[in-house]
C-alpha cells in the first residue's frame, strides 16, 4: 500500500511539474535558454538568484566592492539591475561577459579591481562557517567528555570516524614518517572540499553555490598543496628532479629529463586543480541540463513532455545521487593525491647496492 502511494505521489508531482513548466514558458512566451540557465548557475554572479515566479524574481542582493579609476565603490548589486551605476555596469558579451566593467578614456571596456562579495564568496563563507561549526563543535564535545567516558556517538562519532579515516588511511599511509606536520592542512582541505561539494548539491538558498566548481577555489587549494609539497622537500627530491637517475645522455647536454621532471612539479597540482573543478562543474551542469529537458520539451506536446519529465526526474535523481558520491570521492582523491605528492617529496637517499 505504501509503495503504491509513493508512486502516485511521484506521478502527481511530475504532472504538476510539467504543468507548471508549460505555464511558465507560455507566460514568458519564449524559448528556454538552457545555455544561459546552466552557465548562469555555474558562473559566479553579483546577486543570489533564488527563484522566479512569472516575472517576479526573488534575489538576494550582495555587496559590490570595486576599485575603479574613480576610486572605491561599495554598493548593493541591486543598483546594477537597471544598467550603469557610478560609471560601472555588467558587461554583456566580450571578454568580460557577466563581470563589472567600466570604460576607459579610449572607450574600451576594462575591468576595475573587483573585490565584490559575489554569490560564490557568500557560499564560501556560509559553507566555511558550517565547516568550522561542525569541527569546533566536535572539538568542544571532547572538552566536555573525559576520555574515560568512551567514544562519541551520532554526529560527533561520524566526524571522528571520518577524521580518523583520512588521518590513518590517507595521511599516514600517503606521507609516511613526518606526516604530523601536514595533517592539519590535509584534513582541512578534505573537509573544506567535502562540505563545499555537498552544500553545492542542495538546490535552495544556503546551498547551491557552485563553489568547488570554480577554478579560483581549486587554484588556491592546488597552490597550497604545491606549497606544502615543495616547501619541506628533501634534498634527494630536488636531486631527482634536476639530476635524475637516468643515463647521462638524457640529462646532458640537453637536459631532457630535468625539464620533464621540472614540469612535473607543476602538472601535479595543476591536475588537482582541474580535476576537482571539472568534476564538480560538470556534475552541476549535468543535473541542470537534465532538468532543462522538462522545459525544452514543453513545446513538443504534453505526451512527450510528460514522458520526458519522468525520464528527466529519474535521471536527475540518479545524477544527484551520483554527485553525492562524487562529492566525497573528489574530496578524498584531492586529499589522497596531495598526501602522495607530499610523501614523494619526503623521499630519502636511496641505499647504495
Amino acid at each position: 500500500m505504501k509503495k503504491v502511494r509513493y508512486i502516485w505521489t511521484l506521478v502527481l508531482l511530475m504532472v504538476f511539474t510539467s504543468g507548471f513548466a508549460s505555464a511558465e514558458t507560455s507566460n514568458e512566451g519564449g524559448e528556454v535558454d538552457v545555455n544561459e540557465l546552466v552557465f548562469g548557475h555555474i558562473n559566479d554572479a553579483y546577486s543570489w538568484h533564488i527563484l522566479s515566479i512569472g516575472d517576479t524574481h526573488i534575489t538576494i542582493p550582495l555587496p559590490v566592492i570595486v576599485k575603479s579609476s574613480t576610486g572605491w565603490h561599495v554598493f548593493s548589486s541591486e543598483k546594477l539591475e537597471d544598467g550603469e551605476y557610478e560609471g560601472l555596469y555588467i558587461a554583456e558579451g566580450g571578454t568580460y561577459d557577466g563581470k563589472i566593467v567600466e570604460r576607459n578614456s579610449s572607450g574600451e571596456e576594462v575591468r576595475p579591481w573587483d573585490m565584490s562579495i559575489t554569490k560564490n564568496v557568500v557560499g564560501l563563507i556560509i559553507n566555511s562557517t558550517i565547516l568550522v561549526w561542525i569541527v569546533l563543535g566536535c572539538a568542544r564535545w571532547y572538552k566536555k567528555h573525559p576520555v574515560e567516558n568512551g567514544a562519541p556517538r551520532g554526529g560527533v562519532g561520524m566526524v571522528e570516524s571520518m577524521v580518523l579515516m583520512i588521518y590513518n588511511d590517507v595521511i599516514k599511509e600517503g606521507i609516511g614518517p613526518g606526516y604530523e606536520r601536514y595533517a592539519p592542512y590535509l584534513l582541512t582541505a578534505f573537509f573544506f572540499i567535502l562540505v563545499n561539494n555537498l552544500m553545492g548539491l542542495i538546490p535552495i538558498f544556503p546551498g547551491g553555490a557552485n563553489v568547488t566548481g570554480n577554478i579560483a577555489i581549486t587554484l588556491v587549494l592546488a597552490l597550497l598543496t604545491f606549497f606544502f609539497t615543495n616547501a619541506f622537500a628533501t634534498k634527494e627530491y630536488w636531486k631527482d628532479i634536476f639530476w635524475p637517475d637516468v643515463p647521462v645522455w638524457l640529462k646532458a647536454p640537453i637536459p631532457m629529463m630535468p625539464v620533464i621532471e621540472f614540469f612535473g612539479l607543476f602538472t601535479k597540482p595543476f591536475a588537482l586543480m582541474i580535476r576537482l573543478f571539472a568534476n564538480i562543474m560538470a556534475g552541476h551542469a549535468a543535473i541542470l541540463s537534465l532538468l532543462s529537458i522538462i522545459f525544452i520539451t514543453v513545446k513538443i506536446g504534453p505526451l512527450l513532455n510528460g514522458t520526458m519529465t519522468f525520464v528527466s526526474v529519474a535521471f536527475g535523481i540518479f545524477m544527484t545521487a551520483l554527485e553525492l558520491l562524487v562529492a566525497f570521492i573528489q574530496a578524498y582523491v584531492f586529499t589522497m593525491l596531495s598526501a602522495v605528492f607530499i610523501g614523494l617529496s619526503k623521499v630519502k637517499e636511496k641505499e647504495e647496492n
Partner: protein
C-alpha cells in the same frame, strides 16, 4: 571571462576565507580531535593491560591460595600427628610416672606397715611383759602369802640370777 580564468576577487576572498578556516581548524579543531582519539587509544591500551595484569594476578592469587591451603593442610596433618605423639608420650609418661609413684607408695606403705608391725609387735611384747608381770605379781601375791615361800622364791630367783649372770 571563461570558466578557466580564475577571478581575482574570488581568489582574494578564497585566500582570506580558507586562511581563516585553516587557522581555526588547524589550531582548535583537528589537533584536539586527534589528540583525544590518541588519548582514548592509550587509555584503552592501558585498560587492557591493567585487565590482563589483574587477570594474571587473580590467577596468581588462586595458585597462591591453593598453595596456602595445601600448606595449611600439611601443617594441620603435622600438628595432628605431633599432637597424637605428644598425647601418647604424655600418656606413656603419666603411666610410667603413675606406676613409679604407685611402686614408691607401695614401698612406703610396705615400710610403714613393717614399722607399724614392728611397733605393734613391740607394743604387744610390752603388753605381754606388763601382763606377764601383772600376772606374775598376782601369782606371786597369791603364792607369796607366807614368808617361807617368799624366802624360797627369793633365793631361787637369786640363784637363777646368779646363774644367768655367770
Amino acid at each position: 571571462m571563461g570558466l578557466l580564468t580564475p577571478d581575482p576577487g574570488l581568489l582574494f576572498w578564497m585566500v582570506v576565507v580558507f586562511g581563516i578556516v585553516f587557522f581555526l581548524l588547524a589550531k582548535f579543531g583537528f589537533p584536539v580531535i586527534i589528540k583525544m582519539v590518541d588519548d582514548r587509544k592509550a587509555y584503552i591500551d592501558n585498560s587492557l593491560k591493567a585487565a590482563r595484569e589483574a587477570n594474571e594476578q587473580l590467577a596468581n592469587v588462586k595458585i597462591e591460595g591453593e598453595k596456602i591451603l595445601a600448606q595449611a593442610h600439611e601443617e594441620q596433618a603435622r600438628i595432628l600427628k605431633s599432637a597424637t605423639e605428644t598425647r601418647d608420650r604424655i600418656i606413656r609418661e603419666a603411666q610410667e610416672k603413675a606406676r613409679l609413684e604407685g611402686d614408691r607408695l607401695m614401698e612406703e606403705m610396705k615400710k610403714q606397715i613393717e614399722t607399724e608391725k614392728e611397733s605393734a609387735i613391740r607394743d604387744i611384747r610390752r603388753q605381754v611383759a606388763l601382763l606377764s608381770v601383772g600376772i606374775a605379781e598376782k601369782v606371786m601375791r597369791t603364792k607369796l602369802a607366807d614368808e617361807k615361800e617368799q624366802t624360797e622364791l627369793i633365793s631361787r630367783l637369786v640363784d637363777e640370777m646368779v646363774e644367768s649372770s655367770k
